[in-house]
């Protein structure tokens, strides 16, 4: 299973709303990083990543998100993760990344 990423710019909230689905691993994590990087280059604003349909993310995917978090932080922004599945939230907790990302709402599996 690969992944899909749809992004919309919310002009009212001045934020990127990105819906991600599928699985992120070593095969496609660089692609995700590049895609998110392009969004930030276009508009340096907060990112809201809707993870409701994200089935799996590995350590390389986490690394990609951390790299984007650092970019967003450079201009004082935040990286929000929304509707994260319990199995994925567990990975964020194991790596202590639940302390650096803003995690809002949990998806029901």
């Amino acid at each position: 299973m690969d992944y899909n990423c749809r992004a919309n710019f919310d002009a009212d909230k001045k934020a990127w709303r990105v819906a991600i689905s599928g699985e992120i691993d070593i095969y496609n994590s660089q692609t995700l990083k590049d895609s998110l990087g392009k969004l930030i280059a276009e508009h340096a604003v907060d990112i809201y990543l809707d993870c409701e349909k994200l089935e799996y993310i590995d350590s390389t995917g986490l690394g990609a998100l951390v790299a984007m978090l650092k970019k967003v932080r450079q201009f004082g922004g935040n990286f929000h993760l929304v509707n994260v599945k319990a199995s994925i939230l567990k990975i964020f907790k194991i790596t202590d990344l639940d302390k650096v990302f803003v995690i809002e709402g949990e998806a029901h599996e």
């Binding site: 070593i26 799996y56 590995d58 390389t60 199995s87 790596t95």
Partner: protein, 138 residues
């Protein structure tokens, strides 16, 4: 119906190319085996993630070889636990000090016994085990 006694003692071997495209195949296999062994949903996710991270670890290290090769994953099924061994080919060249910290952190947190070692020949071996939770009834 408890089918544990039908899987105990069985060994499943997977040989994969050192290619990120097939890590998902390892996840699917691990998931399928763990499900057959009646691990619960959370344990199946743990095993799937740990196998994926172990594959990623080996692929990253093996990528330094001039010629991409293969690595193996051996699943040994027992009544009480699942043992998994990954073995790379010989890794040539100097080992870089930097490792995928998140990946190793995840493997060690998700599995019950984890040993990562270099073989005498210079290959990487990852041994890990997942023990079934004991359900205590009243």
């Amino acid at each position: 119906m408890n089918n544990d006694n039908k899987v105990a003692g069985e060994v499943i071997e997977l040989a994969l190319p050192v290619n990120p495209a097939y890590v998902s195949a390892a996840r699917l296999t691990a998931s399928s085996i763990a499900n057959r062994m009646n691990f619960d949903i959370e344990e199946i996710e743990d095993i799937k993630a740990a196998v994926s991270e172990a594959c990623t670890f080996i692929i990253r290290k093996s990528g330094r070889n001039d010629v991409p090769g293969k690595f193996s994953i051996v699943f040994s099924l027992d009544n009480e636990d699942l043992k998994i061994r990954l073995l790379s080919e010989v890794i040539s060249g100097e080992q870089q000090a930097e490792d995928n910290d998140f990946g190793l952190m995840m493997i060690k947190a998700l599995m019950d016994d984890v040993v990562i070692s270099d073989t005498l020949e210079g290959a990487i071996q990852i041994d890990m085990k997942k023990v079934k939770k004991v359900l205590i009834g009243f």
